[in-house]
């Protein structure tokens, strides 16, 4: 049993175009199964529309999944009452991509970081203030800047504020949904270093949702590749990058720009007719699964 066990997770969006239009069903996430161990940095990669963000949101029930099971520390999250779910969210937090739209521009950053503590009625006013200052320091921000508003911070600093807020309740699992994608590369490197540092210090577990494969290769121990709502390949990062097996994974990895101008470029184009889109995942090596 992992810290998080997702089994057969499915999310369908039903679309009815107009009054007389025929309803169509979009399978945003289909039969997704994976486990994350305590302390692990698990990468979920895919291109836009692959269902990776919907998967993250279904785990937190920010979107209600259509079917499947999400177990956190063995407990079935999808069966939780509203009240129980509210408490469970203390342990499962999310950091969003856009540090500009995910922080309330009218609130001082002190209040933004403190808000989760207030909502969950944790500690008195002084305790909360002390905790906020501690969190600010933890993510490498000046406690002297607590009274400022979000617009007074750069993108990288704002993302640190988002992380401080996510960590306020001492979560065990952090879902980082493209958390560093919008940042400049040098700022991205700093925020990634922070995430890794926090992982070591606080024994955090991450679901790291990203489209940047170079970054995922660099920081995740295991990775799942999503394509059109399904996981098509999953395993140790080193195994996936060394011997990608599913045609989509191969096409995806071959598309990553090589940083050497003289490296041979062999783009593999994806031919969707070359594989069975409904094939189940099967073990093709130690801890390496592919839907082939």
């Amino acid at each position: 049993m992992g810290l998080l066990d997702v089994t057969g997770l499915t999310k369908q969006f039903v679309r009815k175009p107009g009054l007389f239009g025929r309803t169509s069903v979009v399978h945003a996430v289909q039969d997704v199964t994976f486990s994350i161990d305590e302390g692990e940095m698990f990468g979920l990669v895919g291109e836009s529309g692959s269902g990776k963000s919907t998967t993250g949101r279904c785990i937190l029930r920010l979107i209600e999944p259509t079917s499947g099971e999400v177990r956190f520390r063995g407990e079935n999250v999808l069966a939780f009452s509203r009240e129980r779910m509210r408490r469970a969210r203390r342990d499962m937090q999310i950091v969003f991509q856009d540090p500009y739209s995910s922080l309330n521009p009218r609130m001082r950053v002190r209040d933004i970081v403190e808000e989760p503590l207030v909502i969950h009625r944790l500690g008195g006013r002084d305790e909360r203030r002390a905790r906020v200052a501690e969190l600010f320091e933890l993510v490498g921000l000046e406690p002297a800047h607590l009274e400022r508003y979000p617009h007074e911070f750069s993108g990288g600093q704002r993302q640190r504020i988002g992380i401080a807020r996510a960590l306020a309740l001492n979560p065990a699992l952090v879902i980082a949904d493209e958390a560093v994608s919008a940042l400049d590369v040098s700022i991205q490197a700093q925020v990634v270093a922070l995430l890794l540092d926090l992982q070591a210090r606080l024994k955090l577990t991450y679901l790291f949702i990203a489209h940047d494969l170079r970054l995922v290769e660099h920081i995740c121990s295991r990775v799942a590749v999503m394509y059109r709502g399904r996981i098509v390949e999953m395993g140790d990062t080193s195994a996936i990058f060394a011997s990608p097996t599913h045609p989509y994974t191969r096409a995806l990895l071959s598309a990553i720009p090589v940083l050497d101008p003289d490296a041979p470029r062999t783009r593999i184009e994806l031919d969707p007719s070359s594989f069975d889109a409904a094939a189940p995942l099967r073990e093709i090596g130690t801890g390496h699964l592919a839907a082939v």
Binding site: S186, I187, L213, R214, C220, V258, L259
Partner: protein
Amino acid sequence: MALLDVQHLSVSFGRGAPAVDDVSLQVAAGETLGVVGESGSGKSVTAFSILRLLQPPGRVTGGAVRFEGRDLLTLSEAEMREVRGARISLIFQEPMTALNPVMRVGDQIAEALTVHGRSKAEANARAVELLDAVKIPDAARRARDYPHQLSGGMRQRAMIAIALACHPPLVIADEPTTALDVTIQAQVLDLLRELRARFNLALLLITHDFGVIAEMADRVVVMHRGRLVEEGPVRQILRAPAHPYTQSLLAAVPGMRPASDRTGR
């Protein structure tokens, strides 16, 4: 002689440090010059200044932009309109905002030709040819589509078709693949490479992505806080960067460090 020769360009947005500070760069015919930098480095402002598309309060405070024997900064607005699109065109990052949402894609390409003096019938035929050249399948039918009916990759191809409509010798591409998925990016870069060879295009390629630079550029300039901090052939910049800023930028790219250096394994 260089096709484009920017000399000591400075741009200011009112008070504070200049957005572009004494930048000189050259692009030869058929050459691809990569301009790398992070947000706020002045790379896009440089491109907009070359085409004189700066919005007030931004203004050029000094320098010259020599192109085909003239200083673009001294041309009249009417003369400048003859340059834009016909001699230098621009590809933006966001095709959805750069394309007109209520105009058919084919008409937008044809418009680029009619404003520069082609007849309507000729322009329409050429629009389909161009959509075909940027590898949009079923070009004649797609020409009648509106931008929202195209995928992100196809929109970017349509914008490239508009940029190439008048066979300009120089194309400025401002983060042309940044908004695209990696597999689509690969296709668009392949397309740009092919068109560059076919039309002997010079490219001023603005990007923050060293991967794109490695794939496309012949030479590279690195910008930091409005200044040009390093310039050189692409291999030299990637393998032996001299300036500390370039070094730190490259060190921050995941995958640039040796495999033994990786954490989290």
